[in-house]
């Protein structure tokens, strides 16, 4: 069953449409990578899914029901969590506090929060060592891990990661992707936005966007055969 | 003025009854125009409502000024022992013009109106301006004031006016600011063209307006305030100014006497606001108290005009000085602020015109219990028995009961009305002011009798005491002379 379904989504800033009607699905349990160059409309797509932007027309269905005009907070509650572009950790708080806030939607059961924190830190052992460090003083890679970890704290069904590899060394990017793959294998559906085709090996599904439209979709074995260069060139 | 209620705010705005000034405007505010058609024709003697105590203390019949022979006898009288009959008043030998009967003859030596300044006077009307603070730093409650203004003239107009002229009262709010007071008085003089101006309250406003009025040759009357201001000519030198009650300086012997009578041998403090207009008073008060108390004068101090955050410090110093009595001349809110934080028991004694004193008693009791203040008008315990006042007040205000502001304004209006009546038919500013100087005594039974041998015509004050069981100031003694 498709956990996420996008139907003819049109989104614009003011009078300028950025997405010109895109359709795709993400199946439960898979890792889906949304590829495209700068300005292709990837971030617009995922921030709309998270509820930060309102679509001009079209629909986002989560677990079969339309999300409509639900605010981000209730989308988190129902299981969609976004690790935003540029990380956006809370800079003057500790790693631990950042994570606690990630579980804001679960805050009524401290025990649950504690368990989730342990679970999440298992994916990112480097963060576990730095639980009391101020987030603003972490390195770029660590901040990215923290952003993903924080998003995981709400125990989401669908984890969306926007540009995890941006500004990271290839090695560090790999560490993040691998952690993501483990998260997915533990049952959380993952939607990754990437400019970097290096993420493709981890994907069960790949979508390629250009100028606000979806130009190519590949599933399963086809992902490995996807000619990225051709995809980027729109061939 | 002793009793200045201070709020720290300076209102942005100006006058209350402004619409009056627009000729095209049909609406008049309630306070202002008191022209009433009808009433008893003929002259009105300003009699009939003499408070018993006053008359007795004074010992003289009311000096009915002007040509008042044919007094209409219908004026209700309060207390029963007043001069009710027309003949009593009319025949009084203190009547300056001494003209019985017709009432048409002008005072013998008064200038003919033909030669005088008759601004604000027509054959049928006299225009009078009153200014007082109803908004601003030390406002008197607006409704209280609006109810009070014009009560007396309203009554007189119903009876046919003064020498056949109805008195039209214009009221302006001076916002408790001297600059505004001056501007309002300028408006009275130059735009509204009133005959004379009455200062309702506020020493510095009265000072500012009086100085302007002198420059514009407009008669200006108010209760007595300070006599001098540093760097300025004394008020006594102003050619058109008249104080209708004792000045602060003139009251210093009274304060010393009150101290001696109630607190003799006990320590005493003198506290005066640091308004420079009170410099002279402070010096004289300290001198008088020192003469009476000697080394028992334990503490003297000038305090900020708006005593707020300084109040605890001042209160602490009063208590440490061991004073049992405090001679106080500063704003009532300062008094309340200091009294509120006093940790010792003291008795306050003060001079002055005490507009709105009862409100202070209401708010400040028990902290100011038995405080004694001098006042140009008696307490409401006396004024409530003054049937003419009570009836006039109720008639003008839809039956509501009078307060002490009503009494204060009524007192000053009736005194002015009395002088106007005494001046006679030939009313000009010159004849009006000449009458003040010539008539030996005006006694309206509310203010103590006047005697204008100088600009300061007061001869006595009433002594009021804060009675906390009644939450108001009651009359302890009338007509106390220095």
């Amino acid at each position: 069953m498709a956990i996420l379904e996008i139907k003819d989504l049109v989104v614009g800033y003011g009078a300028f449409p950025v997405l010109h009607g895109i359709d795709f699905v993400v199946e439960e349990g898979e890792v889906c990578v949304l590829l495209g160059l700068n300005g292709a409309g990837k971030t617009t797509t995922v921030t709309t899914i998270a509820g930060l932007l309102r679509p001009t027309s079209g629909q986002v269905l989560f677990e079969g029901s339309p999300l409509g005009r639900k605010p981000p907070s209730s989308r988190v509650k129902s299981g969609i969590s976004l690790s935003p572009e540029g990380r956006r950790v809370f800079p003057r708080m500790t790693v631990g506090q950042n994570l606690k806030l990630g579980a804001w939607s679960q805050r009524r059961s401290p025990a649950l929060v504690k368990r989730q924190m342990k679970l999440v830190l298992d994916y990112f052992p480097r963060l576990a060592e730095r639980e009391h460090q101020i987030a603003g003083t972490l390195s770029g890679g660590e901040q990215q891990m923290l952003a993903v970890a924080r998003a995981m704290m709400s125990n989401p069904k669908l984890l969306i990661i926007d540009e995890a590899s941006l500004g990271l060394s290839p090695t560090l990017a790999r560490v993040v992707w691998e952690a993501t793959a483990r998260i997915a294998s533990d049952g959380t559906t993952v939607l990754m936005v990437e400019q970097n085709a290096g993420a493709l090996p981890f994907a069960d599904r790949a979508l390629v966007m250009e100028k606000g439209t979806l130009i190519r979709t590949a599933v399963g074995e086809d992902v490995k055969n996807l000619d990225v260069r051709a995809a980027y060139l729109g061939a | 003025m002793t009793m200045m209620i201070t709020r720290k705010f300076q209102a942005v705005a100006l006058a209350a009854a402004i619409t009056l000034t627009v000729p095209a405007c049909g609406q008049k505010s309630g306070v202002a125009s008191q022209v009433v058609v009808g009433g008893v024709p003929g002259q009105v003697a300003a009699d009939g409502s003499i408070v018993p105590g006053t008359t007795a203390a004074d010992g003289s019949a009311v000096g009915v000024p002007g040509a008042t022979g044919g007094v209409t006898g219908g004026t209700p009288t309060g207390g029963g022992s007043t001069t009710g009959g027309g003949s009593t008043t009319g025949g009084s030998k203190t009547t300056p013009s001494g003209t019985g009967g017709g009432g048409e003859a002008p005072p013998a030596t008064a200038p003919r109106s033909g030669g005088g300044d008759t601004t604000g006077v027509t054959d049928t009307t006299i225009k009078v301006g009153i200014h007082a603070p109803v908004t601003g730093a030390a406002a008197i409650p607006q409704q209280s004031f609006e109810k009070a203004v014009g009560v007396y003239f309203d009554m007189v107009n119903k009876k046919g006016g003064i020498n056949g002229r109805k008195v039209e009262v214009k009221f302006e709010d001076d916002q408790f600011r001297p600059d505004t007071a001056r501007a309002r008085c300028k408006k009275f003089a130059e735009q509204d063209k009133v005959f004379l101006i009455i200062g309702g309250a506020g020493a510095d406003q009265i000072d500012a307006c009086a100085r302007y009025a002198a420059s514009a040759s407009v008669p200006y009357l108010s209760a007595g305030v300070h006599e001098t201001r540093p760097g300025q000519a004394p008020l006594s030198s102003l050619s058109t100014y008249f104080a209708l009650s004792l000045t602060y300086e003139q009251q210093t012997p009274l304060l010393a006497r009150t101290y001696k009578a109630s607190y003799n041998g006990q320590k005493v403090a003198v506290i005066t606001a640091d308004n420079d207009s009170l410099d002279n008073f402070h010096g004289k008060a300290v001198g008088a108290i020192k003469a009476a108390a000697g080394s028992n004068l334990a503490y003297e101090r000038r305090i900020p005009k708006n005593t707020t955050s300084d109040a605890p410090g001042i209160a602490g110093e009063i208590c440490r000085s061991g004073a049992k009595a405090v001679v106080w001349n500063a704003s009532p809110s300062s008094l309340l602020n200091v009294a509120k934080v006093l940790t010792c028991k003291v008795g306050f004694i003060g001079p002055g015109l005490t507009n709105g004193l009862n409100i202070v008693a209401e708010v400040g009791c028990d902290n100011i219990a038995n405080a004694r203040f001098y006042s140009p008008f008696p307490g409401m315990d006396v004024m409530r028995r003054n049937a003419e006042f009570v009836n006039a007040y109720k008639a003008s205000n839809g039956g509501s009961a009078p307060d002490d502001l009503g009494a204060a304004i009524y007192g000053v209006e009736s005194l002015v009305g009395m002088i106007l009546a005494a001046t006679g038919k030939d009313l000009s500013r010159e004849s009006f002011m000449a009458t003040i100087g010539k008539v030996k005594q005006f006694n309206n039974g509310i203010y103590p009798p006047t005697n204008f041998s100088s600009r300061f015509g007061g001869t006595a004050m009433h002594l009021l005491r804060a009675d906390c069981s009644k939450s108001e100031f009651v009359t302890e003694k009338v007509n106390v002379r220095p």
Binding site: - | K8, F9, Q10, A11, V12, A13, L14, A15, A16, I18, T19, T21, V22, P23, A24, C25, G26, Q27, S29, V134, T135, G136, A137, Q142, D173, Q175, F176, R177, P178, D179, R182, A183, K186, K187, E190, Q191, D192, D204, D207, A208, R229, P230, G231, Q232, A273, N275, D276, S277, K305
Partner: protein, 400 residues
């Protein structure tokens, strides 16, 4: 906005047919199209007629010349006060609108100007004109000193410094009886020639005209353009080599100059000037009238300031009263003082903040924006209802 690199921009005629900075800001879409637009003969006539009405209203109406109404000395005195408030508004506009600094102690600048002028005339026995010059200069110096200090702080802290300065002036400086005449106030006589309120009104108008001209010159000078550039984009502007601090300091100095001048005029307008007048509320009222007038719009600020001066003194309601009673059969005065129990004195205090909040949240251009279409039309442009649209009441700290 281009950086002021051309040295010729200081020359008076070099910029003659360019739109002023203000116009550029307010009416972006005009330019080429309206340069070509020439009103028809009827259009010129209509514009001329409106100008004539405006001139009549400002110059003739207050002094009962060619007027069906009769205004008294007190009314024309209120008009003088409106002109003085307009100068204060323009002063604050330089600070708030051009330099992006909020002053919560502007009443102190005005007050110090007022008492200085009174002191020079009364105690030093010098001429009124000299006193005005001294008051203005002192205002300039004060503002420059405070400005120099504030340049080391961020914008919000400057608000605190002015607030503290205002309370210091009010409680300490204005409590010196030698300077302020104590509670009873300080006399401030007018020069013999302008003793009449009618003449004094024209004197105030003349000073207002001078201030308007100086303000106009400022916005077209190198400093003014630099400040505008700073507002548009501080980083770009400073990368062009604009000396941010120097120009901000100039704005402070000019603002102080205007405030001192307004203070002097206020003193001699009131003839007795008291310290009580210069409280914190006046400072807030100044901010309010300038923002509601419309920052960076000279005409808007003048109208806004005059509006609040007349509203405060009750004369505006008085002027409107015949209209409301005769046309709408409704007495605004009775409604306010009777029905809802709001004394005329407090109308400005209650209505003003509401207008302020509406302005900054809904109509950031203030009155200046509302009248922009008419003003542009009167200046010979095509009537455009959208002229002068502003999105936000930009009062950023230019140094932020």
């Amino acid at each position: 906005m281009s950086a002021p690199t051309s040295p010729s921009s200081e020359a008076p005629d070099a910029t003659l047919d360019l739109p002023t900075v203000e116009e550029e800001l307010w009416s972006a879409p005009e330019d080429a199209e309206s340069e070509r637009f020439r009103p028809s003969r009827a259009g010129w006539f209509a514009r001329g007629a409106l100008w004539a009405v405006l001139a009549w209203f400002v110059l003739a109406f207050p002094v009962n010349f060619l007027s069906p109404f009769t205004l008294g000395v007190s009314d024309v005195s209120a008009a003088s006060e409106a002109a003085i408030f307009a100068i204060v508004g323009l002063s604050l506009n330089v600070l708030l609108g051009y330099a992006g600094q909020i002053s919560l102690g502007h009443q102190a600048f005005v007050g110090i100007g007022a008492f200085t002028s009174a002191y020079v005339v009364v105690n030093l026995d010098l001429a009124f004109w000299f006193a005005v010059a001294v008051a203005s200069t002192l205002g300039l110096v004060q503002a420059a000193v405070l400005g120099a200090i504030s340049l080391r702080l961020t914008g919000l802290y400057f608000a605190l410094v002015t607030l503290a300065f205002g309370s210091f002036a009010q409680q300490t400086i204005f409590a010196i009886p030698k300077l302020t005449g104590g509670e009873g106030g300080k006399e401030a006589p007018r020069p013999a020639l302008f003793d009449s309120d009618y003449r004094y009104y024209f004197l105030c108008l003349a000073f207002l005209a001078v201030v308007l001209f100086l303000d106009w010159r400022l916005t077209r000078s190198k400093a003014g353009r630099a400040l505008m550039a700073l507002r548009e984009n501080p980083r770009v502007a400073s990368s062009y080599g604009i000396n941010v601090k120097a120009y901000t300091l100039i704005a402070f100095a000019v603002s102080g100059l205007f405030a001192g001048l307004a203070g002097a005029l206020m003193a001699h307008h009131d003839e007795v000037i008291v310290a009580q007048k210069f409280g914190f509320n006046l400072a807030l009222l100044f901010v309010l009238m300038t923002v509601v007038g419309g920052l960076r719009s000279r005409s808007g600020v003048v109208i806004g300031s005059a509006f609040f001066a007349l509203l405060g003194s009750g004369h505006l309601l008085e002027l409107l009263e015949p209209l409301t009673t005769n046309v709408f059969r409704f007495s605004l005065h009775d409604f306010l003082t009777g029905t809802i129990g709001l004394p005329i004195e407090f109308v400005a205090l209650v209505v003003g903040p509401i207008l302020l909040l509406l302005t900054i949240t809904k109509y950031p251009g203030g009155i200046g924006q509302q009248i922009a279409p008419i003003r542009e039309w009167m200046l010979g442009h095509r009537f455009d209802i959208h002229a002068g649209k502003v999105k936000e009441v930009e009062v950023d700290d230019v140094r932020a």
